[in-house]
């Protein structure tokens, strides 16, 4: 969507177009429902969540359908963002400098483009996670239809479904932390679409250069 990057008045720039924002929230709301009901099925200590959300039977009935909505949203994300998610040389350097990133020493990081290497990893983990969750989820949706001699399908599904879910939960927690707490302005960008030019320069210097046409060579920070 880089062709849609446009400078807005008051030093702001469009980061997420309407289609991207809408799709993000389809994925977000469906994922949160899946997470809550999934946790209810995961542990007796969380089963009260199912009661709060309308009871165990309702949660059992809706979880697969909401799962389909989530899968559709993730596939739409793929069509929107996959071209921007390929690993570059800068990404490899980014991973080697991860320690600086964790300690907020962003001036020691290789310049990230519209997405940094961590965001790309998040994208791919949700993409592959959603595929595994869909395939195993279909088996868990209709366990009574799996014949006895194909029961290994059920055994694989009951194990892989939570494994894939846990992988997405790890990424989800980091995603929420980064976007709501660590990078001020990121949460607003996925609601209203725009960020400040300072935000772009600090967190995505490569993207910033792209926006301002490479004319600005102001030193970062």
């Amino acid at each position: 969507m880089s062709q849609q990057n446009q400078i807005l008045p008051h030093g702001r720039v469009l980061r997420y177009a309407f289609a991207e924002r809408l799709n993000h929230w389809l994925a977000a709301f469906s994922y949160i429902y899946l997470l809550l009901t999934g946790l209810a099925f995961w542990s007796p200590w969380c089963f009260w969540i199912a009661a709060v959300l309308g009871g165990g039977q309702v949660s059992r009935m809706l979880h697969p359908w909401i799962g389909l909505a989530f899968f559709v949203a993730v596939m739409r994300m793929y069509s929107l963002w996959a071209p921007q998610m390929h690993t570059t040389e800068a990404d490899k350097k980014w991973w080697r400098s991860l320690n600086h990133y964790i300690q907020n020493e962003d001036d020691k990081m290789p310049p990230a483009g519209r997405y940094n290497a961590g965001q790309k990893a998040l994208f791919w983990s949700f993409f592959y996670g959603a595929i595994v969750l869909l395939l195993t989820g279909i088996v868990l949706w209709f366990p009574e239809s799996i014949p006895w001699n194909l029961r290994w399908l059920r055994y694989i599904a009951v194990f892989l479904h939570p494994v894939a879910a846990l992988m997405t939960i790890a990424n989800f927690m980091i995603h929420i932390y980064m976007s709501v707490f660590a990078e001020r302005g990121a949460f607003g960008s996925v609601i209203r679409g725009d960020v400040s030019l300072e935000f772009a320069k600090r967190h995505h210097p490569g993207w910033y250069e792209e926006i301002v046409g490479g004319s600005s060579s102001a030193p970062r920070k």
């Binding site: 542990s43 059992r60 055994y155 009951v158 790890a170 980091i174 707490f181």
Partner: protein, 295 residues
């Protein structure tokens, strides 16, 4: 026996302790099925359907005497018929009363996520509580005997109750009462094991069945239904009775190590992120003060 037998010692999907766990010593009940004296009359099948007030269920003909290929949500008791040709060319017609085995360590209960949907009473009976069943079917994956069956209309799972309603009133299960040959017995597990050992000794000593023995598989902690088999070394001959049934490995891994690792990782991750924020804060904290309007 009294209503006290309905005290629970195991509860599915349950957070915290269980009132009946290790609180009393009580008879564990068991059915003994002597396959060597079963004549395949199916009186037990009819008695089960009658007592539990099941609707009519169509049968399937597959060139044997077997009523249907496997148990159904409304058909909990099924005699399996299998023909086995021995090495000397003689034929054995093996009939086995198939139903829930009421495992001491039930896989269905271990897999169930719904609080109280599957319980084990202190007398050993494993019972489904359909009002608490959410219809996820995890019990189907937990059972090594292919017993729990899903009803698509009610979206709940059903199986043999070992006639909990009769047993708690001091009566024997309906199938036992209907058996005309006396191949079915009911009583304490201890007594049934003694009876079963006596019978298999008789079969070995007097009836030329050197491999006769008792089926009480240890992989599921022993069962509340035990068999006397002509050949205890080959239980598979009796309609796919598993020789060493256990809770499936993937179910054990899921409910054991994965659950622990996952919980530690999730709680540890939350604590880690919180501490990170305390230590390092937001990424732009050292930037110059900004004008208003920052989202």
């Amino acid at each position: 026996m009294s209503q006290a037998t309905l005290r629970m010692q195991k509860i599915s999907g349950h957070a915290g302790s269980v009132a009946g766990e290790d609180t009393q010593r009580q008879y564990t009940v068991a059915k003994l099925v002597d396959t060597t004296t079963c004549i395949g009359c199916k009186a037990c099948e009819v008695a089960c359907v009658e007592w539990n007030d099941m609707p009519f269920s169509p049968t399937t003909f597959d060139n044997t005497y077997q009523t249907m290929p496997e148990t159904r949500w409304n058909y909990w008791n099924l005699i399996t018929f299998n023909e086995h040709e021995k090495e000397d060319g003689s034929l054995m017609w093996l009939m086995r009363k198939n139903q829930c085995m009421h495992c001491a360590e039930p896989g269905c209960l271990a897999a169930c996520p719904s609080d109280g949907a599957i319980v084990q009473y202190t007398n050993g009976i494993v019972d489904f509580q359909q009002d608490k069943c959410i219809g996820c079917g995890y019990c189907i994956s937990g059972c090594p005997f292919n017993i729990p069956k899903f009803n698509k209309e009610t979206k709940r799972v059903y199986k043999c109750t070992l006639c909990t309603d009769r047993v708690s009133e001091g009566l024997e299960p309906a199938c036992i009462k209907a058996c005309p040959t006396g191949c079915l017995h009911f009583g304490s597990k201890e007594d049934m094991l003694v009876l079963a050992e006596q019978r298999s000794k008789q079969l070995k000593d007097n009836y030329n069945f050197p491999n006769a023995g008792v089926y009480d598989p240890k992989g599921v902690g022993g069962t509340g239904v035990i068999y006397v088999l002509h050949d205890a070394t080959q239980p598979e001959l009796y309609g796919a009775l598993p020789s060493n049934p256990t809770i499936p490995l993937m179910v054990k891994l899921w409910k054991g190590p994965l659950k622990w690792l996952g919980n530690v990782a999730m709680v540890g991750g939350l604590i880690g992120l919180f501490v990170h924020y305390l230590r390092f804060g937001p990424k732009d904290r050292d930037d110059a003060p900004r004008e208003g309007g920052q989202p």
